[in-house]
């Protein structure tokens, strides 16, 4: 998990964009204070190569909250074999932009994990950040 110091600064914004031959969808959620372990959806959108900035928690303060960002990649029949699929995943990883802006540290590129399945020709790029 990533950590980012935001203090009482607001709004905190996230930018997500990706260049890939897959269909890509990004989901951003904020942790539910009344239901530990669950995330409240904030955004769900088709990910473009030039995504814009989106306010977290409707622009209100977010110190102490946790943000989850997941991008789902659906390759359909674009890739024919496993090496091609793995190459496409690498390209997506290299072209994935995930930036958090605001707070005391300014711009921060967020780290992410990748899970993929050649059987379903899909992948998920997962990221979480604890805001302090």
């Amino acid at each position: 998990m990533d950590f980012h110091e935001v203090g009482v600064n607001k709004p905190i914004k996230i930018k997500v964009s990706i260049g890939t031959e897959a269909s890509a969808f990004t989901y951003i959620g904020i942790n539910d204070l009344s239901n530990p372990g669950k995330y409240i959806p904030e955004y769900a959108f088709g990910t473009k190569p030039n995504g814009g900035w989106r306010k977290v928690n409707k622009g209100e303060t977010v110190s102490g909250r946790r943000i989850r960002i997941r991008t789902f990649l659906d390759f359909f029949d674009i890739v024919n074999n496993k090496p091609e699929f793995e190459l496409a995943i690498k390209r997506a990883q290299q072209n994935y932009i995930l930036i958090l802006n605001g707070g005391n540290q300014g711009l921060k590129n967020l780290v992410f994990d990748t899970s993929s399945s050649f059987e379903t020709k899909s992948a998920i790029l997962h990221s979480e950040v604890q805001l302090t």
Binding site: S23, P41, F76
Partner: protein
């Protein structure tokens, strides 16, 4: 690589290079609107509350790759979209060129030299007969070829000589599910005037294996040519709809 080229007694060595590309592709207005409609439905579903909840709240993240494909609506919308993507374009024009260089044969005192060169231009006008079956097509093909053949042996002087020919013609093909039936006529003009009239039958056992049968008269043949049976493998024919299309749809 080697071959006799129907000229030499023994296989000869040669080096060859070729390229092929699609110059033009036109998709029908109906196909374009169908793919946009199908993609919009797919996108609407992917950002729906049901999918969003799975995407954000299933852990670990890897489990999502098992959960999403199990959703019936996902399977249905994706199947419709993939079916439309596989439709062949209304019109396509391809160009190809190839050259093989003859490496020579010392045993026959033949030095290396020009082998064979060809340029092809082919067109395909395809009508999708969806009222019959969603995989049915009626094709009208056109072909134009220039062939320069330097592998003709003068047996008296034991030297090679070159002939130039132009081929042009057409083909009609009906595709019905896994069967196809075609008839082609190609005329050859130039240093040799001849023609080719062929009918072919093909059955696609799988995407990679097909059974073929042919009948007719080939170039320079004096009698009808009949091929009883043939097998092709390692082939995949894939049609695709291209730009302007939503991301991820190729």
């Amino acid at each position: 690589m080697d071959g006799t080229f129907e000229v030499f007694e023994r296989p000869q060595a040669y080096v060859s290079i070729g390229l092929r590309t699609r110059l033009l592709k036109i998709i029908s207005g109906k196909d374009y609107h169908d793919v946009l409609k199908a993609y919009n439905e797919y996108e609407e579903f992917m950002v729906s509350p049901e999918v969003t909840d799975i995407m954000l709240n299933v852990s670990p993240a890897r489990s999502i790759l098992d959960s999403i494909p199990k959703l019936k609506k996902y399977q249905d919308t994706k199947a419709v979209l993939q079916d439309i993507i596989k439709r062949k374009p209304l019109f396509a024009m391809d160009i190809a060129a190839a050259y093989s260089h003859f490496m020579g044969d010392e045993s026959q005192n033949l030095g290396d030299g020009f082998g064979r060169f060809g340029v092809w231009l082919s067109t395909d006008l395809a009508f999708h007969t969806s009222s019959v079956n969603h995989n049915n097509y009626l094709h009208f093909y056109g072909v134009f070829r220039y062939l320069r053949d330097g592998l003709n042996l003068d047996t008296e002087s034991n030297t090679l000589f070159t002939i130039n020919n132009i081929d042009f013609g057409g083909k009609v093909e009906i595709e019905w599910k896994k069967f196809s039936l075609a008839f082609e006529y190609i005329a050859r003009e130039g240093d040799i005037s001849t023609s080719r009239t062929m009918g072919t039958v093909r059955y696609a056992v799988t995407n990679k294996i097909a059974l073929n049968g042919g009948f007719g008269e080939n170039f320079m043949s004096n009698e009808d040519t009949i091929t009883i049976f043939g097998i092709q493998w390692g082939l995949e024919s894939k049609a695709s709809l291209k730009a302007p299309l939503p991301p991820g749809i190729r």
